[in-house]
Subunit: 460 residues, 2 copies
């Protein structure tokens, strides 16, 4: 890409508007108390850029910046902030500032922010809001976290099924408070039950006297308010939707979910998968050290248990280890290769399960394939490790033993890497969280047992 093209394109993206130099300059202004210079420097930033800036600086200057900028802060900035940083920022703002921000935001965003507050603050903020907005936000908060009811916004255009195109257009013209980001109108019956939708572009191309029901698409998906956000993401993904109406169990229209909120959900879900596979509860780098230490402790604690289990297997072979010390030198290799091969299989299985690609219909084919892959790589690595071992210790029997153990452990890794996530899924336990603990337990135990056990049988 040419520099010119890059300048044009990225002049407005958050990542490029916040350069290290800009951060340094703002921190310098802050140190010297140059409030006006700070205001000028940040006045051109987008909400995402402002949020990014606040995330990049340390907690102390962050608090000072928020104190200085609180009356020029775009409410959207609060939406863009990472949760940990947002909590800090909300602590600094007064309830009336938060209420003013909430009033400018879509219901779903306002509810998300107010949900982060303490019980006392929440009541204070809500009491500052006009009755209609308060009711809308309280209604949103009545749905559990991570459901369609939380994600949806109430700002939408619903028209009766008795209207003509002309009347709908006049209605849109008169309602000056309609948001710009309306792409579809919804048609409802007298009981506000959803009958269909009309794309704006379609309406624009239709003559005024035509009844709106004649051009509506009656065959549109809808999502119940109680649906999990992961299911919402699936529907948007599968059907390439830009927006989707949310209904109650009588199919009455409650709100609409926009695709940009779903993009956030998809990011969150991907982040969750990655975090669980890596054994962390949160990938938020702004989480305080004490909380991070605590949350990681338990994962490591479970792993310590499995490590002791593996050690107890080794402990069964103390006399063999004492007689042939090469066994102690080589034994981590078999276990380590099994762990790595199993992790490869688990990664594929967990992702395929999360995306709904791995099901009862093709599970057997998947397991079979992974065993073939594990066996094939097992034989190749048996050869390699056998040759290297022979070159190192000049002992054919040790070389044969480690080769045999390698094949056994890589096939065991394939079996464990497929059956553990499939089994956990069937037990309704998230396979991303627990698969790798069970997996390394299997590959460590089988790895040490196969190598040392075969050695005990054939070498001594």
């Amino acid at each position: 890409m040419t520099d010119a093209a890059r300048d044009i394109a990225f002049s407005r993206t958050s990542l490029d508007e916040i350069t290290p130099e800009l951060i340094d300059r703002i921190l310098e202004h802050l140190e010297h108390g140059r409030v006006d210079d700070i205001r000028a420097a940040v006045s051109v930033l987008s909400p995402a850029g402002m949020a990014y800036l606040l995330e990049q600086v340390a907690p102390d200057p962050r608090a000072q910046l928020v104190g200085i900028l609180k009356d020029q802060l775009d409410p959207q900035t609060l939406v863009e902030l990472d949760e940990e940083v947002r909590d800090e920022v909300l602590d600094i703002l007064e309830p009336k500032d938060i209420a003013a921000a909430a009033q400018e935001l879509d219901t779903d965003d306002a509810a998300e922010i107010i949900d982060d507050l303490s019980e006392v603050e929440r009541r204070e903020v809500l009491s500052e809001l006009p009755a209609a907005e308060r009711a809308a936000i309280e209604a949103a908060l009545s749905y559990p976290d991570y459901t369609a009811g939380r994600l949806m916004q109430r700002e939408l255009v619903a028209v009766p099924d008795t209207w003509t195109v002309g009347r709908v257009i006049d209605h849109c013209r008169d309602a000056t408070d309609l948001p710009d980001d309306v792409y579809d109108l919804f048609v409802v019956d007298a009981d506000r039950r959803l009958r269909g939708s009309v794309a704006l572009g379609r309406m624009l191309r239709t003559k005024r006297p035509v009844p709106i029901v004649d051009i509506m698409d009656p065959d549109i998906p809808s999502i119940p308010a109680a649906a999990d956000q992961e299911e919402v993401a699936h529907i948007f993904r599968d059907q390439n939707l830009v927006s989707c109406p949310v209904v109650d169990d009588q199919r009455r229209l409650l709100g609409v979910i926009m695709v940009d909120d779903v993009v956030d959900v998809i990011d969150e879900e991907a982040e969750d998968d990655l975090a669980r596979m890596g054994g962390v509860a949160s990938v938020d780098i702004h989480e305080p050290a004490a909380r991070t230490t605590r949350s990681r402790f338990w994962w490591l604690f479970v792993n310590l248990g499995t490590a002791f289990l593996a050690s107890s297997v080794i402990g069964q072979f103390e006399s063999e280890l004492q007689r042939i010390v090469a066994l102690a030198v080589l034994m981590p290799i078999v276990a380590s290769m099994g762990g790595n091969a199993g992790t490869q299989t688990v990664t594929v299985a967990v992702r395929a399960l999360a995306m709904g690609e791995l099901t009862a219909a093709n599970a057997l084919r998947f397991v079979t394939k992974e065993i073939i892959v594990g066996g094939a790589n097992g034989f190749m690595f048996a050869l390699i490790v056998g040759v290297v071992t022979w070159l190192w210790f000049h002992d054919t029997r040790i070389a044969l033993t480690i080769g045999a153990a390698m094949v056994i452990n890589l096939v065991a890794a394939a079996l464990a890497g497929t059956l553990i996530p499939l089994g956990l899924q069937r037990l309704k336990i998230d396979p991303a969280v627990s698969s790798s603990v069970f997996l390394t337990t299997v590959t460590d135990v089988v790895g040490f047992l196969a190598f040392l056990g075969l050695a005990a049988l054939f070498l001594i």
Copy 2:
């Protein structure tokens, strides 16, 4: 969620329309050659549902199904298929079938499918297409994979900056081939340079004589055709976009990227991160076993090298191991805990780097925090592992040695887990691919060296 609500909501999602029973029924029809029953059963499926069905069945019935259904296959089905399965399906279809499908699809989707074909087939398919479509697809193929130029579609509405709202509306009314999914119009100057955009909803609410430039938003983001798709996803994410124009280096309008294509990109990128962290090249479960074996081989090969490196460290302490066999029993514990703690840190670092949250401005704070977390958990696990070791072997000095090694290795894991991804990123190497190999090398070597080295110093 009530059953009724679920029935309403998910009646149209691919995952729910394809039940195991439906798959069994279709396979049974296939076995008995009941072609009409198959046609009837799949006629109600959405393109995503049809794709999902084809992915779920084994290669043989898949080929038979495609053979039977090829003239009623919705072109969108080809877009929804996983790449491996799509290759199989394309092999069965005739060039003229593929050309007919390509003609109905948006340019970006058609180009993606044609790009999968062999050189010969591609030429055949292109020659079946009308000149205009062929030119559009060839233009799309001229951009490298994974760029904005590939993602964009050419179907858009661009109007001259000299027109009024009324003239634009008349233009839209007359152009009957306008797609329904147009949400924004683009305003261009005489040289087709992008001047701004107008949301359809806004235009609908404006009087006819108003010049279009008066209501356009001049301050819109645009993306150069050569931009990487990851940057495209960043822009959509940061600015909550539904569509974004693509321009050449003169800022001339070339096409538009829609958010549903970006959702696919975000899924791909998340999948890539997960795959790389798990040491696999692809999470596509439909990849043939031979290819999977080959692609996983190299990751395991590199890991074998690091395992031998760790073994060579153990080899330095043969005489100590022979004298105190408890060392051999316990030594995998320190290495394993270091590996797990380091993976936690690497997971957070890789994700934060990918999302642009970890930068030069806050790297030092991040490293410091991780060292504190590693040290704190190191001390707690030193205590636990020390007590368990004492209970097992009744040897205070071994217990103290393993405790000290634990603290050292968990701090080393924190250092390696932060500095390795940061260093790789600076060297422009993807940290997701290589961090974990380097990390486990460090935690294995330091783990064995600290435990056996301290034992050699203090126990013997």
